[in-house]
């Protein structure tokens, strides 16, 4: 078992390394500006979806304000860069901090609430931010959106030329940093404690985990990355629109988290890359702007109905099952169990154990 785990981890490291190099090499093969744009947008969504996984998946907080935190980042960066003339690089950071601050405000009531009230407060918060943005139209441009946001710069390099090459690497860099930080967070003691709170709140609290404090930290941390992504999004597109707060944006990103499967960080990330291309591809079909959201909604329902652990989770189970069938004919249930156990990493093992516990 231990040997197998080691092997698995090794192959995982290899896989990630290969993907990273592929990510670095993409712009060499992809010269087309629109395709590069799709990659950049998909990296942004990847950050949003993966960081949502921290609060929704790992901490189990029914947080539906995550996309609003993204919007807070978008507007905080846009406003400070455009109106206050702050350097766009610094403004991106301000976007992250502003999103964290918004998360702290939401956390104030949310960490003490249960179940549906968390959903309601976070949704209400999203709508409130949208109302504020629309109403303060002399600052934010209202429903028309904010235009001509200054963009990031480097000495001797113009980001607006070069077919988005610079933006591509900034986005990839942000994605890698976010992923490393998120993986580190969820594997730290902190990550363990928020999962304990999710799986068995009473027991975790009785073992001395401060529930409100840990949940606050989870919300603030996950909001920071999404706010940063929002900051980059606005300096890249150079426009901001209140559409980011729309229910359809929420459902698009939520579908990425669900398709990828919660509590893995990588799952939502890759689902985001994958779904962005599909969804943008569909959007370019004539008169299909509504249709693509309908498909996204359908996909969400199908995934929840048939692949509750995410579409990606179905893959290793199927592969392992086939391998097992080839190897020997063990009793069906046992082999299926074993297949599941060996195909997932140690972390999911712990999770499975805690799920089967009393709740």
């Amino acid at each position: 078992m231990a040997l197998h785990d080691g092997k698995l981890r090794n192959s995982k490291v290899w896989l990630i390394g290969v993907l990273l190099i592929a990510g670095l090499l993409v712009p060499i093969f992809v010269q087309d500006s629109y395709l590069r744009h799709l990659f950049i947008i998909s990296f942004v969504y990847g950050i949003v979806a993966a960081s949502w996984d921290l609060s929704l998946g790992y901490a189990g907080i029914f947080n539906f304000a995550h996309v609003a935190f993204f919007g807070v980042g978008v507007y905080a960066t846009g406003l400070t860069a455009k109106l206050l003339g702050i350097d766009p690089w610094a403004a991106m950071l301000i976007g992250g901090v502003a999103a964290s601050a918004a998360a702290a405000i939401v956390a104030l009531p949310v960490v003490r609430l249960q179940g549906v009230y968390v959903v309601l407060v976070t949704f209400a918060f999203s709508q409130l931010v949208m109302q504020l943005v629309i109403n303060q139209s002399n600052l934010t441009g209202g429903t028309q959106g904010m235009v001509r946001v200054p963009t990031i710069w480097l000495p001797g390099y113009n980001f607006l030329r070069d077919y988005k090459l610079g933006y591509y690497y900034v986005a990839l860099g942000l994605l890698v940093i976010t992923t490393v930080c998120l993986r580190w967070l969820v594997r730290s003691d902190f990550g363990l404690s928020i999962r304990a709170l999710r799986d068995n709140e009473d027991y975790a609290v009785s073992r001395g985990i401060p529930i409100a404090w840990q949940r606050l930290k989870a919300l603030v941390a996950s909001a920071f990355f999404t706010g940063l992504a929002g900051g980059f999004y606005v300096v890249y597109l150079r426009v901001a629109s209140p559409e980011v707060f729309d229910f359809s944006t929420v459902s698009l990103i939520l579908s990425m988290v669900l398709v990828g499967g919660t509590s893995s960080i990588y799952g939502p990330l890759f689902a985001a890359l994958f779904l962005t291309f599909i969804s943008e591809g569909l959007a370019s079909i004539n008169n299909f702007a509504e249709g693509r959201f309908m498909l996204v909604a359908l996909a969400m329902i199908v995934v929840l109905l048939f692949f509750p652990k995410g579409l990606a989770s179905a893959l290793p189970a199927i592969l392992a099952k086939n391998a097992n069938q080839k190897r020997s004919r063990q009793p069906v249930t046992a082999s299926a169990d074993q297949a599941l156990m060996t195909s997932t990493d140690k972390e999911n093992e712990a999770e499975a154990a805690s799920h089967s516990g009393v709740r």
Partner: protein, 294 residues
């Protein structure tokens, strides 16, 4: 400072707002108390009801009148309610996180229907013909007859809903299921049938709300979003535990909103309401009027 005509204006517009909110929130609360599910598609059901009524009464020169329109709309709403329950709620009754999962599925249903409405009817603004025409003066404020009609119809509908839940066999069954589904099943109540009835009833309430509001507001595919968000806030204020609490909270919210719009202006009213909401929740996490629920 507050003269009687200002007070009258605030009260009357507050009650108009509150009536709409009460109709909207009661449907949500009904589903919540019975099934423990928060239906995000409730707002879009309202939109759908109004669009169907518009199609029957206005479009294609059919001109059958609003009576038939309302009937057709209500009938389709029953179907929509049953469909939602069957397809995206029922499969999850035994799920560990039924609440979270159904929030997601009903959210998906909401997007699906909203975009579907946009595909079918287009984004162009529409308006239902008012059921009542002319103006009515209440105290010192003049409002349209349609708004007066809403003030009258809302309590009637809510009263009928209360009578149904309190007196009829089916209604009592619904309440029994809400209190304890296992015990209800043990004494021979057909729980799954009552779940369907509850969903259909709530959908009809949403559709009727849409028809009533569809002539004082403009119909867009996002017509139901704003009332849904208000209903969210109302059920947080009122607590989800009881229909009565929700209705009272809805009227209070209407009055509060009218007063805030007057004193701080329409731009800041939503933020003030949200601030109040956070304060209320910090002091009473179970809602202003609510009891502790699941």
């Amino acid at each position: 400072m507050i003269t009687s005509d200002i007070l009258s204006a605030i009260l009357v517009s507050g009650i108009v707002l509150g009536s709409g909110y009460a109709l909207m929130a009661s449907g949500l609360s009904l589903v919540w108390t019975t099934l423990g599910i928060f239906n995000f598609a409730h707002g879009v059901l309202m939109t759908l009801g109004a669009y169907i009524a518009w199609t029957v009464s206005d479009a294609a020169g059919l001109n059958f009148g609003l009576g038939l329109a309302i009937a057709v709309s209500a009938a389709i709403m029953i179907g929509a309610g049953i469909l939602i329950e069957r397809v995206i709620v029922r499969p999850f009754y035994d799920h560990r996180d039924i609440l979270l999962v159904t929030v997601m599925t009903t959210l998906a249903a909401m997007i699906f229907m909203q975009k579907g409405i946009q595909l079918i009817w287009g984004a162009r603004l529409k308006q239902l013909a008012p059921i009542a025409t002319g103006n009515v003066q209440i105290w010192q404020t003049t409002i349209s007859a349609q708004e007066a009609l809403i003030i009258v119809v809302a309590p009637l509908l809510l009263g009928a809903l209360w009578l149904f839940l309190d007196r009829s066999r089916t209604g009592r069954g619904i309440r029994a299921v809400g209190q304890n589904p296992d015990a209800a099943r043990l004494i021979g109540i057909d729980v799954s049938r009552l779940f369907i009835i509850t969903f259909a009833l709530s959908a009809v309430l949403a559709g009727l709300t849409g028809v009533l509001l569809g002539s004082i507001r403009l119909l867009t595919p996002e017509f139901g979003s704003e009332p849904l968000v208000k209903a969210l806030i109302i059920v947080i204020f009122g607590g989800l535990g009881s229909l009565g609490g929700t209705v009272v909270a809805a009227y209070l919210m209407g009055l509060l909103e009218a007063a805030l719009v007057f004193f701080v202006g329409i731009y800041w009213a939503p933020s003030m309401i949200f601030l109040l909401l956070i304060l209320v929740l910090l002091i009473r996490p179970q809602g202003l009027l609510g009891k502790v629920v699941r």
